[in-house]
Symmetry: C2
């Protein structure tokens, strides 16, 4: 399993993953909101053509050739956006490599959303990779670019560098100590967005939050990374302090995380939401060295394969909600054994 | 471990244990309510003297020589009554054998409460044993007896044979299906008492109930046994029907009993009441063959050593409530491993 989302990264006790997303548009086509079907098709054709020159092991796959379960599984891995997965009347495609750490969405909000991913906190390396791919791509196509504003994109907040950097953080101790909202407000005040598990407008599940820069204009990529990194380090610090505080009552914490472990291991059926909550406890317990039966790889697998889409993908069949709950419990048991 | 309460008996999926209790008084002393301290002492002296002749490996132990934890542990094993354990101003004693399946309480409500115990449903054999001991004892002391009424005892409901037969039953499925009260009412209508875990006035814990005859007068011992046995068999039948009904939804049942198993195995602290509820589920799961990790002996041990008194007895030290909860979880884990 070489996929990035099953690997361990820096500060992975708090930072689950990092992502850089660059929005780019092609000069010769209108923005997606004004594209005709023909435009969409030509955009895809143009990019499909340059795939071999671009390299990185990227493969071109059209949305229409991706089945629904795979789409959901890609959303769950954060490799494509929920909006993109649900597009029906737009010709979309992805360029993705086997490791799934590089994935471009074509004809999402912008013509190109170039994304690179890593487990843990890896913003600088990711930015270097994103810039490298972006420069190579920029030699193969002509971006919509203004000397005054920078890259021109659909959303005004994406104009400029078109760069969104984000980290996915696990903040169970801040939740347990009741300090989560205070910390997230501070993050907001520092010009960062805090969002749920699948980006804007989605709910946090299992104490996982996405923190990203909310400004693309007037800042260099390096500045964006620097400010996000600074804030992330503050959040890591606060979460670790909260964990330290919780370990002052080790018994209560042990009881909580091991009860969740016990239920996860022995339940005969598990709802998706309950499972996320249990996994949040179990990850916390493992990160604090309380739970000894697990490691980061197993935690990553548990997190991934208990999600509805990836569960079905893993089992290779479509399942209704009732049977997903049963199979989710079975798969959790398998991974725990 | 040859003690009766750790053994398996007949119908032990429903009937945890059986007990026969015979109330007897000595002719030459007043009833306990009118005994002087001297009377109490003389009663003890008289019975202590005949212990060697009585046999059965019985040992004479005075209440004042039993520490509080041991008293509680004996109550939890149903070997002595809660009232007797709490007597402070009365000279009391017990005659008990190593297996603890024979225990006489001296100067409880009556001068002598002869009790015999067995796991499972063993009323006839127990009655034979009780009668045998009673006859032997009757040759060594002179009982208070009336040709018209039979044995004369403190409580009018104990006059006659002075015989109380009881079974301790585990009725989790009747609870889950909501039929428990209906069944217990019927048991009442058939002239039986239904009581909580430690007899009259106590609450049921973990779906365990005591069923006993409420009439001693005008019935022979054989008749008492026969009617209790008939009622017990009806209760067993109803509980087994309810279990069969529950197994129509095997997943729900499996989920319930295995979640309880998981918590029991991994919790870092367990309150006494929660533990009883978990053990009720776990016993049900084991009896139905759903839980494969356990056997009846382990269930018996779990039931016994997680009770406050026996927990402390087992660990050989006094513990406050906070530490009992921690140690209860540890002992449960040990037995489960």
């Amino acid at each position: 399993m070489s996929n990035w989302y099953l690997q361990n990264g820096k500060d992975s006790d708090v930072v689950i993953s990092s992502r850089i997303r660059l929005s780019r548009n092609l000069e010769k086509y209108p923005f997606t909101s004004r594209c005709t079907e023909k435009d969409f098709q030509e955009i895809l054709n143009e990019i499909k053509e340059i795939v071999p020159s671009l390299g990185y092991g990227l493969k071109y796959i059209e949305l229409k050739d991706i089945d629904d379960i795979t789409k959901v599984s890609l959303v769950e891995k954060h490799v494509i956006s929920p909006d993109f997965a649900m597009k029906e009347n737009v010709k979309g495609a992805i360029l993705v490599n086997d490791e799934e750490n590089i994935c471009m969405m074509l004809n999402e909000e912008d013509h190109i959303k170039l994304q690179v991913f890593s487990s843990g906190q890896e913003l600088e390396n990711l930015m270097n990779l994103a810039i490298e791919i972006d420069e190579k791509l920029g030699e193969l196509v002509t971006y919509s670019y203004s000397k005054q504003f920078g890259f021109l994109n659909v959303s005004p907040t994406n104009v400029g560098t078109g760069c969104r950097a984000s980290v996915m953080v696990h903040l169970p101790a801040l939740s347990l100590t009741g300090n989560i909202n205070k910390v997230l407000q501070i993050v907001n005040h520092f010009g960062m967005n805090v969002r749920g598990l699948y980006g804007e407008g989605t709910q946090s599940g299992g104490d996982v939050y996405q923190i990203s820069n909310n400004q693309c204009l007037g800042l260099t990529e390096a500045e964006i990374i620097k400010s996000l990194k600074t804030i992330t380090e503050k959040v890591i610090e606060q979460e670790r302090l909260a964990r330290k505080y919780l370990t002052k009552n080790p018994l209560e914490l042990e009881d909580r995380v091991y009860r969740s472990y016990g239920i996860l291991k022995y339940a005969a059926r598990l709802g998706a939401d309950e499972c996320k909550k249990l996994l949040s406890d179990v990850k916390l317990g493992t990160d604090l060295g309380i739970i000894k039966e697990l490691d980061d790889n197993k935690i990553s697998k548990l997190n991934l394969y208990t999600k509805p889409g990836n569960l079905q993908k893993y089992l290779g069949k479509e399942l209704d909600g009732y049977n997903r709950d049963i199979k989710r419990a079975e798969v959790a048991k398998q991974i725990l054994e």
